[in-house]
Structure formats: C-alpha cells, structure tokens
C-alpha cells in the first residue's frame, strides 16, 4: 500500500527525523504505557496500553504510519517508516491493534464504499474505534473455508447465527469484521461474505473471554443468535468475501518488518537476565561460555531475520516472491521468539516458576515474586507457544512453502 520510493531523504535529514521520533517517545509517553511495556507477555501488549499509545500517536499524526497519505498516513518515505519502527520497537512500545490498522482498514480502503471509508477510517486513525476479527470457528481453524457461521438474507438485513472463536480482544473492542456463510453452493470459498459490525453488543451477540495459560483472557468466543445486520454492512460483494479475505492476507505480507527490532530487544533482555543469575560456581550466567554460545546462535538467526525482512520490504508485497518470504518470515520470527523465551526460562531456572498473575495485572501494585526483571519470563514462555499456532500454524506454513517449492 505504501509507496516504496526509497531513499528520498538525505542521511542528515533522516538522522534529524530519528532524533525527533526518539525525543517524542522518550519524553511524551505516559507511565501507563510504560507499565504496559513492562507487562507485555505475548504478541499483544495489554489492550489499555495500546489504545493510550494509539491516541497519543494520533495527536502527532503517527498512529497509522503505514497508510497512504490520502487516507491519513504521514508523508513519509520507506526509510522514515523503517526508522520510526526501529525507534518505536526498540523501546518495546505497543504496536497498534493490527486488526484495526493493518487488517480491516486496508480492506476498507480497497473494497469499501465512499460511505464506509468516511464512517470507519477516522475512528481507526484517532483510536476512538477498535476492531476484532471474526474468522476462526471451532471446526474451521487451519481449514478456514470450512466456516459455518451463517448469515441468512431477510429483506434488507442479514440474520447471523453461529459462532466464532479465537477472536482477539472481542471483549475490549467495539467493532468486528467477520466472514459468514451466505451460500452453500459451489466451491466452499464461494458463498462467503465479509461483514462489518458497528458494535459488539448487538441483540443476540454474546462474547465469552477465553482464559489463557497465564490466567489472562486475550481471545474470546463470540456467539451469534439471530443477530440482525443491515446489508449495507457488507464489505465488497455478497458471496464474495473470500476475495476480500485474500486481499487482506496478501496485504498483511507487507508486515512492517518489525520482528528484527522486537527480537533484538528480547535478546538484550535475555542478557540482562543472565547477568542476575549466579552460575553456581561463583560467576554470573552472563559470562558462561555455553550460554553466550546459545545467544550467539540466536544473533545469527536475528541477522537472517533482519536481512529477510529488509528484503521483503525492498521487493514489496506484490512481488512474486512475497508470499514465500512472508511465510518464511512468519516461521522464522516465531521460532526465534519461542527460542528466546525458552532460553530465558532456562536462564532463570527456579526463579521463574512463580505465578505472577497479581503483579502482571495492569494497574496492580503487587510486587513481582522474585527478581523484578523476571516478572514476565514464565508468562512469555507459555504464551509464546501460540506463536507456532496462530496466523497460520507452522504446519500450514510448511504446507504452503512446500507447494511453492514443488511447483518450481
């Protein structure tokens, strides 16, 4: 979506820009957000921290930096975006809700009517509205086209009955986009419609949070019992939701390429942890040759990831290699995320075993059990097991990648 006119700023201008971003992030981000940074234990930081940060960025016009200028994105080139994300992610700051900013918004830009664009995009930019994604169902996970949640036509309305699951933040947000079955004819991809809901509290809707391994809810089940939605809420065309979903999937490929910055920070954190642990022989684990060798291996992977993300950024999301690169980056960045979390657990040993639920709650003043730096170790270890499951499991990615390789 973003034009990829690379290198239009001079080095000096870019350095100035970097300073401006750094200055803002260092001096204007409120404590609540930093608390969220410290309490981030999964791909998603605490919701309230994200939205606070989103609204703050909106005041600078920086909340949707990947968007085209005509829709409200800043007039930045590719280098500026890269610098912005580097400065942003190296501080561990919360990424915007991807379902709002990177998923439904681009789909609305591409398929939305003029009315839909002006109705929905401003709320996303400002952070007034946030969205969740209703794709998965109990029997349609990896096999999405098996979805059953149906929308029956009744005059100017659809009447939705069925269930969605794994809907991230359904209990926090106020909008939802979802795929529903509007026909059982033809191939299963046909007969799917893409709908936009203006509320999570429509009559007949029920949201039940799913408690995760760390004790916190992040996802939810959403039940639909004769939920009425006007047909004007279709995005794209009736029965043609699959092409919207496909566009959205391809769009996601542009991805941001932030994994390298996020993981760099995680590896640095790992070194901090190791500096706090005695090796049982009078030294610190941070100086242990075996530990350092493991970190070195992670750093090799990090360099590969950075090179891969930068390559995808360079070729852009519509290049013939983009799909392969995106799958590969998904696999590699998620593996690396898991490996860092595993090594963190290994480093901390028995210090990481406490249930830190109380201390991890946003706004809680409960002290961490054991060293404060280790607050998130166990929760990250557990939550990051999902890295190889969500967004297309490792098995699904390998299936995709092998198909591409075997078609060559």
């Amino acid at each position: 979506m973003a034009d990829s006119s690379v290198g239009s700023l001079s080095t000096a201008e870019l350095d100035r820009f970097r300073l401006e971003v750094a200055d803002f992030l260092d001096n204007h981000v409120p404590d609540e957000v930093w608390e969220g940074v410290d309490k981030t234990t999964s791909y998603f930081p605490p919701f309230s921290a994200i939205m606070t940060m989103h609204k703050l960025l909106a005041t600078k016009g920086w909340s949707v930096v990947g968007w085209p200028e005509e829709y409200g994105g800043p007039a930045w080139d590719e280098d500026q975006r890269h610098v912005f994300w580097e400065e942003y992610c190296k501080r561990g700051l919360p990424l915007m809700v991807p379902q709002s900013v990177n998923m439904v918004a681009p789909a609305i830009m591409q398929f939305g009517t003029r009315e839909q664009k002006s109705k929905y995009l401003p709320g996303i930019i400002s952070g007034e509205h946030s969205w969740c994604q209703g794709y998965s169902e109990p029997n349609a996970g990896s096999d999405l086209v098996a979805l059953q949640c149906k929308a029956e036509s009744d005059g100017d309305d659809y009447v939705i009955t069925g269930q969605k699951i794994w809907t991230t933040w359904a209990f926090e947000v106020d909008h939802m986009f979802l795929l529903v079955r509007t026909s059982n004819e033809g191939r299963p991809q046909q007969g799917i419609t893409f709908l936009l809901l203006d509320s999570m509290e429509l009559p007949g809707m029920e949201v039940r949070p799913i408690i995760g391994l760390d004790g916190f809810p992040e996802q939810a089940e959403v039940f639909f019992n004769q939920v009425r939605v006007p047909k004007s809420q279709i995005l794209g065309e009736h029965d043609k939701g699959w092409s919207v979903a496909k566009y959205l999937l391809e769009h996601e490929r542009s991805g941001g390429g932030n994994g390298q910055f996020i993981l760099k920070r995680e590896i640095d954190w790992l070194m901090t942890l190791a500096a706090e642990v005695d090796d049982g022989a009078g030294g610190q684990l941070a100086d242990d040759a075996v530990f350092k060798n493991k970190v070195a291996q992670l750093l090799v992977d990090l360099r590969c990831l950075a090179a891969s993300e930068n390559y995808l950024r360079k070729i852009g999301p519509h290049h013939q290699e983009a799909a392969q690169m995106a799958s590969m980056i998904k696999l590699e960045s998620m593996d690396l995320t898991q490996h860092v979390a595993e090594l963190a657990l290994e480093v901390c040993g028995s210090f990481a075993l406490a249930d830190q639920y109380d201390a991890l709650k946003m706004g809680s003043t409960a002290r961490p059990i054991g060293p404060a730096s280790m607050l998130t170790v166990m929760a990250k270890y557990l939550n990051h097991r999902a890295c190889s499951i969500y967004g297309g499991s490792h098995q699904v990615q390998r299936e995709i990648l092998s198909k591409m390789e075997l078609m060559k």
Partner: protein, 375 residues
C-alpha cells in the same frame, strides 16, 4: 556411592499400594476437582491427606519401629508416577520425599520419634528449605548462617522457592555452621519466633514461600544434623529421582491425551491423525518418553540395589526428563492448536506442571553443566 543394606517393600505390598494410589487418582482427581482444589486457599484437601495416612502411603519410607512400612524411596517411584498422572496437589513431595529423606538420616532419635509418627498419622506437613537466591541450584551453596550460642543455634538467612511452604507445619532449614566448613539442618516448627513467610503460588497451582529468619533461636532438641553435606546431596538425588518419576506420569498422560485427540479432532475433513507430520510427532513424543522411562528404571534398579544413585545418572535423568518434558509439553500444545493454549483444557496444566518440574532442583542447564564439569 554408598552401599548399604537396603530395606525395600516386597513387590506385593508395593503393587497393592500403587493400586490404591491409582484408584484414588482415578476417582478423586478428575480435572474439575483438581482445579477447585488448586484454587482453594489451602491448595490441597485435608480429607485426601487423611486418606493418604489411612492407606499407609505416608508410612512408606519410615522404619517399622516408628510405625513405618520400612520401605525406601525406590518404592515411591510408582506412587509419584500416579501422582504425576493426576497432577496431585497434596504436599507429598515436600513431606514424604524431601523432608522425610533428611529426617531419616538424622541421628537425633528424639526428634525423629517426635516427628515421624505424626507424619505417618497425617498430622504433620513439612517443608525442606534449602534453596537460596544465590545458590545457583546447588544445595551445598548456602549463605544462611547458624551461630552457636551455648546449647542453641541462632539462625539467620533467607530461603526461596520453599515448596509447600504455605502449607507446612514445620520447616527443615539448612545453614552454614559459623566458623566451620560444614552445613547444619535445623527443625523450625511453624510458630517459631522470628520466622516470616511470604506465600505464593507456582504456575502449576502448587504453593511455595520465601522463608526469612533473623536470629532465630533453635535448641539442641531441634537440631536435625550438624554434618549435613552428605545428607543434603543424597536427599537431593532421591528427590530428583522422584520428581522425575512424577514427570513420567504426567508425560505419559499428556501423550495419551494428545494421541487420543488426533484420532477425534478433524481438520480438512479428516482426523488429524491422518496427517503424517502429526503422526511422526506422536512417534517422537513416544520415543522420548520411552527413553526417559528406561533411564528412570535404570535409576530405580540402582536405588533398590545399593540405596543410592550414581551422581551422573541422576544428573542425566534430570537433563533427560527436562528435555522430554519440554518436547512433549510443547508438541502437546502444538498438536491441540488454540485449545491447547486455554486454561479450560487439562493440557496446559500438565504442561505447566512439567515446566515447574523442569525448573526445580536444578534445571537441565544446571545438571548438564554438572556432567560437563566431570569431563
């Protein structure tokens, strides 16, 4: 390795005991009951504990003259395994394994005569406080100090990750004897003045505490040992052994659950067991479980024959159990998919218990380092 005459239960008695444990787990430890027990303040059931006493499980390792069954820790491997299968929460490990082991080796007969019958009767839950923030998982690396003052000792220090700390009615605490190159073990009843507890839960729902003590006076009657290095080391070995036995039970159950799931869960119109990649993951889980079990059995045999286990075998067992626990835990979640990440399903709870076991008594890194150092 010491060799001595080893008293063990007869195979018949052992089988009978294990049978009763298995029945208990099957009837009392369904997932929902376990979940509410874990959520309760006490964190276990006093009714269960009484049942343990009635069925003789709390008597296994103690000598007959004190009312015990005259068995050994090798006799408790199957019990621990059943407990692992049910994720049993009762503080059996802290009382009957960690504490019982050091008590058994004590020469303070009066103290033993006072405590052991109470343990057997189900009236005393104990915790062994050995670990410290700076000990790097080594039970001989102790900073807590015991200074002799006349017939008593003054104890000061802080112990971390004291298993069952919040539930214990007494603590056995290790400390450096001031001015000597030796460690002591001291018994602290729960109401001892100057002792403070910070209670918390581990992620597996069990309880633990940080135990602080400042100038706490312990009389001679409560001295467990003044020569405790060997005791601490050998009890560390058998505790690791039984912790690994428990892990075996949990892994066995988790593999079973996961294999069954692949036969019923459908994706793309077929049971997921029809996907070769998942089948081979199941095979790998099965292999790593089996090899770990063979190593455990090898250790059980040694313990039964010689009363102790070779230090390198124990280290290897802990390393291997940790590897297996991680592999099986991670693949169980992976194969279950999203549902495996929820609090609602038992899978995650098995993974959490296995993760805790891997982290206790020195994790894989620590024990691999031990083997490395011996090269």
């Amino acid at each position: 390795m010491m060799t001595h005459t080893v008293n063990t239960l007869s195979p018949e008695v052992r089988d009978m005991l294990v049978d009763s444990v298995q029945k208990f787990v099957d009837s009392e430890y369904d997932f929902e009951s376990r979940r509410s027990l874990a959520a309760s303040k006490l964190g276990y059931s006093e009714k269960h504990w009484q049942l343990f006493a009635e069925l003789g499980w709390l008597a296994i390792p103690f000598s007959e003259d004190l009312g015990g069954l005259d068995g050994d820790f090798s006799d408790m491997a199957d019990v621990a395994e059943c407990f692992g299968r049910g994720l049993v929460l009762e503080p059996f490990f802290s009382t009957l394994v960690q504490s019982a082991n050091v008590l058994k080796q004590s020469h303070n007969e009066a103290l033993k005569t006072k405590l052991i019958p109470k343990i057997i009767a189900g009236e005393l839950i104990l915790a062994l406080a050995w670990e410290e923030a700076g000990s790097g998982s080594n039970p001989l690396s102790v900073s807590s100090v015991a200074s002799r003052v006349e017939d008593s000792y003054l104890l000061s220090g802080e112990k971390v990750v004291v298993l069952a700390g919040p539930q214990a009615q007494g603590f056995i605490v290790s400390a450096k004897l001031e001015g000597e190159d030796q460690l002591g073990l001291f018994y602290l009843p729960e109401d001892t003045l100057g002792v403070t507890l910070e209670n918390y839960r581990l992620v597996d729902g069990s309880q633990a505490a940080t135990l602080s003590f400042d100038q706490v006076r312990i009389g001679a009657a409560n001295v467990v040992s003044l020569n405790a290095k060997t005791t601490l080391e050998s009890s560390f070995r058998s505790a690791i052994f039984l912790l690994c036995a428990e892990a075996l039970g949990a892994m066995e159950k988790l593999l079973r659950t996961t294999a069954d799931y692949t036969k019923t869960r459908k994706q793309f119109g077929a049971p997921i067991a029809s996907f070769q990649v998942l089948r081979h993951l199941i095979a790998d889980m099965s292999v790593i479980l089996k090899k770990t079990r063979c190593l455990l059995d090898h250790c059980t045999g040694q313990l039964r024959e010689t009363g102790d286990i070779d230090e390198m075998d124990v280290a290897a067992l802990k390393v291997q159990t940790g590897r297996a626990a991680q592999f099986i835990g991670r693949q169980a979640i992976q194969i279950h998919g999203g549902i495996g990440m929820t609090d609602e399903l038992d899978v995650g709870h098995y993974v959490k218990r296995l993760t805790v076991i891997d982290g206790l008594l020195g994790n894989g890194r620590f024990h691999l380092q031990k083997i490395t150092s011996a090269l």
